[in-house]
Amino acid sequence: MKHLRLADRRILALDLHPRSFGYAVFENADLLDWGLRKWPSRQFENTAGRKLCRLLNLWQPMRVVVREGASRREYAMVEAVARDANVPVLGVRRAAVQSAFRSSKRPSRFDVARLVAERYPELGLRLPAVRKLGHAEPFQLRMFNAAATGIAFLRISDHAADGGEK
């Protein structure tokens, strides 16, 4: 099997919420897929797990990366599904995600979304407008949060790998 090319790393990044999650799939630095999945509140057990399971089957990631801050129920669901698929789950701290995009000031979630869209122009079409006072957070922001988590994870693992080589 000398001719089989290796995709060094393929990760599924998730931003979990009680009735939905945003996801982004990376292969090395390439963004393969992105989107949102939602389910009715009463169908959490069946639907959420099934939707995540489909993503794992489709993309066969070597890691599931979760942005920390979601409730235990969602974490437990992800861990259970990932365990069945034999994929390790890793959490990335919010601070780590923010520091991956920090220049001078602390970036807001909209700033992070804009920076993600600059790096991956294919996401630009789905970039939400900045929230106005009294408006709810745009649903699509979850997808950008997931992509930012993936980017932060790749950056962390790159730094660690560089340090290991030295």
Binding site: H3, L6, M62, V92
Partner: protein
């Protein structure tokens, strides 16, 4: 749940995985087309296109070539894993065939057609090893 900064990143990257058999969904999404729009352009139903993209069904040749033309990618790009697998299997069979030819040539009197075949097989093997990293 473990936190990534506490993990050794070098240890995480020691594993590597093979390319996916098909990247049709990736290139469609990068082109900005919806499933229905791409299916309309390819003259197939969106349900069928979804099945091809999610690898539920094998992609027919006209659809595979249509997708490559539509998204502006080559077959090795769109079907990286499948292409690599085919190249690997073919290289294995070519090596076996080359060994067989060498044995036949060494046993008896080497004919022109046998040596021509051997040089062709050797050239194909070299091309395959260049075509796939």
């Amino acid at each position: 749940m473990k936190s990534a900064p506490r993990q050794s990143g070098a240890a995480l990257e020691t594993m590597a995985i093979f390319k996916l058999t098909s990247y049709l969904r990736v290139y469609r999404k990068k082109s900005g087309l919806t499933l229905r729009e791409a299916a309309y352009l390819l003259r197939i139903s969106h349900a069928d296109l979804s099945r091809y993209e999610t690898r539920v069904r094998e992609v027919p040749l006209p659809v595979a070539l249509g997708c490559c033309l539509l998204y502006g990618v080559t077959v090795p790009q769109a079907f990286a894993g499948m292409y690599d697998l085919c190249a690997s299997l073919l290289a294995h069979r070519l090596r076996l065939f080359r060994n067989r030819l060498v044995r036949r040539i060494s046993k008896g009197k080497p004919s022109g057609s046998l040596t021509r075949k051997l040089s062709w097989v050797t050239a194909r093997l070299a091309h395959l090893s260049l075509a796939t990293p």
